[in-house]
């Protein structure tokens, strides 16, 4: 009887711990205290389909395993994992490695020089203030002229951006957002890492 009571009490402690842990993790992710913005990104900052695939399969298979474990009475780890499930993960992982090999054989995917933005950091921006950002090639770059540059604001895209070639003018919103201004101006060009200018 006492043993059963201890088992029940332990069960409730586990329920409480799992519940609190889950809620905390979800809350921290939601308020960006746990940063998942690069969860499926590669080193060169491009999103990766392989990482997304890994993420999907990992979540699905682990959830399936959990449901099977909890479905047994009493809860128990399954006797065997189906070979097809292991093959599924093997195909995904093997293809990922092959794609990495292809990527490393492509110098464009690695060690690309980053565009330089001037100014790169601006603080104390007033409401409605305009800031001119200019893009330039990094020192030692083999390219002589600037390629076509695509300008954008990272989310949250407060304010406006007007662009003309290698120059963009950022105008802060009036009034500024309640939590303060945190803006990233991004310049993208083929063959270069993105140039970033942080405005706050």
């Amino acid at each position: 009887m006492a043993l059963h009571a201890i088992q029940i009490a332990t069960g409730w402690v586990i329920v409480g711990f799992v519940g609190l842990l889950s809620a905390t993790i979800l809350y921290c992710i939601w308020i960006d205290k746990i940063d998942i913005s690069r969860v499926i990104s590669e080193v060169n900052r491009d999103a990766s389909l392989w990482r997304l695939q890994f993420l999907i399969f990992t979540v699905v298979i682990s959830l399936s395993l959990f449901l099977v474990i909890m479905g047994a009475t009493p809860p128990a780890f399954p006797q065997s994992i189906p070979e097809q499930v292991l093959a599924l993960l093997g195909i995904s992982g093997g293809s990922y490695l092959i794609s990495k090999g292809i990527q490393f054989s492509n110098p464009a995917a690695m060690n690309r020089p980053a565009l330089q933005l001037t100014p790169s950091h601006v603080t104390g921006t007033a409401a409605g203030q305009s800031i001119t950002v200019t893009a330039s090639l990094p020192a030692g770059s083999p390219a002589c002229t600037l390629p076509f540059i695509q300008w954008s604001l990272d989310s949250p895209a407060d304010g406006t951006l007007t662009m003309a070639g290698s120059t963009a003018v950022y105008t802060a919103p009036n009034p500024c957002p309640a939590g303060g201004l945190k803006i990233v101006v991004r310049a993208q060009a083929a063959g270069f890492e993105d140039g970033l200018a942080q405005i706050s």
């Binding site: 029940i8 069960g11 586990i14 329920v15 799992v18 519940g19 889950s22 993790i25 979800l26 992710i29 939601w30 960006d32 913005s37 690069r38 969860v39 499926i40 900052r45 491009d46 999103a47 990766s48 389909l49 997304l52 695939q53 999907i56 399969f57 979540v59 699905v60 298979i61 959830l63 399936s64 395993l65 959990f66 449901l67 099977v68 909890m70 479905g71 047994a72 809860p75 006797q79 994992i81 189906p82 097809q84 499930v85 093959a87 599924l88 195909i91 293809s95 092959i98 794609s99 292809i102 990527q103 054989s105 492509n106 110098p107 464009a108 995917a109 690309r112 989310s155 083929a190 063959g191």
Partner: protein, 134 residues
Amino acid sequence: MDFALVISLIRWEVTLFTAGLAAIIGVKALTGKVNTRFLLHGLNRDGAHYFSPERVQMLLATIGVAIQYLMLSVRTVASAMPNLPNGTLEVLGLSHAVYLGGNSLGHFAIDTQRTRGEEIIQWHSTLFRLQRVG
């Protein structure tokens, strides 16, 4: 107090956590807070991005297989993980082969073009030098 209630609660907690996590990632991806830039684009040797249909088909195959397996897992009441339906692995393998094949062929094609271009430039410069010497 029944132990089944504890098990049921943990099951619900983990299910809600997974669903919540998927929902948050989905919302953040749609609002641009999770980086999905160039998810469906490949990278040329010269660093330019291009739209890649192979990636689209692989994404669709991945989502299809994942949903299919998830539905199987939810419906299965046995104490073992469900097997994948017949042909699923073949479809997924084919999808990966199409992507990797297309990617590799693209690389070789670009290499071949570049090599031929370099040969032509070398041949022209040699000819030019010979003309100047002559």
